[in-house]
Symmetry: C2
Subunit: 264 residues, 2 copies
């Protein structure tokens, strides 16, 4: 079983540069910490052709978990649920459980069940609605072959509320029993290019470790580089030992190169 | 001629949720203002298979402009240039112009031309280096069939410096003569679902206009919605007239619905 994941971010506002895609970063971090391997983040417009194509592509590749954000609201261009049904070759129908959730939400809030709102109860046949603790549109959980597709609203508070309350526990249940450990050190006075061979040696110490340098200062005048190290492992203790071993190696090698370690 | 664009963001830090992809948002805004239609933003890991696949996919679809960020630095996992050569089925060679740029940069800065640094002068055969006014790695400009591929570093200051100094003027030259005009109004007291039919009517007023609502407050308790309107047109005056016509319609319809317009 491989634990791959894709994040699909739906919304024209992302493609015209109006909105920074913080949703994807938040989800990527969550999925990584759960032990999933996020392989792609794709932003596409509110558009049938693109949405259907990308959902089908993820299923064809047997990506284990696909999370989309956006397109579940009440307006005319919020059509993720409908396009998802099309991608799955399923009917797009009123879901009884979703209708109950939506009706209940509107009743307690004294709102009328208008046509645009009723749309939020329609889903691909066989999907399960996920309660929205913040807004009105339920999320969607639907499985096809080896893939779980989870459609969430694009409003960050709703997306996070649904994820933390309902999606995260389920993904932990069906996910790998992995522990993810990370550590950063900041190095002053050694240009990134001179850290490169040290990092390369560190990477070779273990196939569960990943090391990446992020230049922060001016490359030449005053080199300042953050080195980010992370490890995934079935065993928390093993992950801790692994990362300590690699960090120690890096710090010694950097000191030999007369680098100053500012923080870790 | 269609003026489509893709943005390819390369780097594991994006996929583990360590870094928010502000580069893509910045580029998307720039491309939109130049009149390009950004169709996809794809974040992928530093990985041969993904990079080659995504570059080839963009070429196969005749995307006019493809901009990648990341993977041009000196470390072992910075291999965008090499993978791009592979995607293009071209040799990966030392580019004479790039070598001059790189040697000159190092000479003036009193740095040695080490092996990892020399790598920054290697490019797909037939590519042109783009000077980097901030760091050492030149950008890459390479054309294949109808597609221009521009590879930029991932460090924001370098990416922006190269783009604004060299890429932007060239894309304006080969791009459409389009003007992009946008305007936002913020509405208090009308839930998004009730704005939906008004927005739909506004969209039907013109096929060059796009209207999108962004809920800001609490959907039910105190609805606050930003309505973002944008228009592209060959003619600046026509774009201005179009957007005024649509904004006037929206403001009147919202006032009839007893909505309060907070700002525009």
């Amino acid at each position: 079983m491989s634990y791959t994941a894709w994040i699909i971010s739906i919304g024209n506002e992302l493609l015209i540069g109006k909105t920074v895609n913080t949703n994807a970063t938040w989800l990527a971090k969550k999925l990584t910490l759960l032990g999933y391997d996020v392989r792609r983040i794709i932003a596409i417009p509110d558009n049938e052709e693109d949405e259907v194509e990308v959902f089908r592509d993820a299923i064809r590749r047997s990506i284990r978990v696909v999370i989309s954000t956006g397109g579940l609201g009440p307006t005319f261009d919020d059509r993720t649920s409908e396009y998802l049904a099309k991608a799955l070759n399923r009917r797009y129908v009123v879901n009884d459980d979703a209708l109950k959730l939506v009706t209940e939400t509107f009743r307690t809030k004294g709102l009328e069940l208008t046509e645009p709102r009723l749309k939020q109860a329609k889903m691909p046949e066989g999907a399960k609605p996920i309660p929205n603790p913040v807004g009105t549109a339920p999320g969607i959980w639907v499985e096809e072959s080896n893939t779980v597709i989870i459609a969430l609203p694009g409003v960050p508070a709703e997306m996070m509320g649904i994820f933390e309350n309902y999606v995260e526990p389920k993904l932990r249940e069906i996910g790998p029993r992995l522990h993810f450990v990370e550590r950063s050190i900041t190095v002053k006075g050694v240009p990134e290019a001179d850290l490169a061979p040290i990092i390369e040696r560190g990477m070779k110490m273990s196939n569960r470790v990943y090391i990446k340098s992020h230049p922060k200062g001016h490359e030449i005048r005053s080199p300042l580089v953050e080195i980010h190290v992370y490890v995934s492992s079935e065993d928390e203790k093993a992950a801790e030992n692994e990362i300590n071993r690699v960090i120690n190696f890096l710090m010694n090698a950097i000191k030999e190169r007369n680098g100053e370690i500012l923080s870790q």
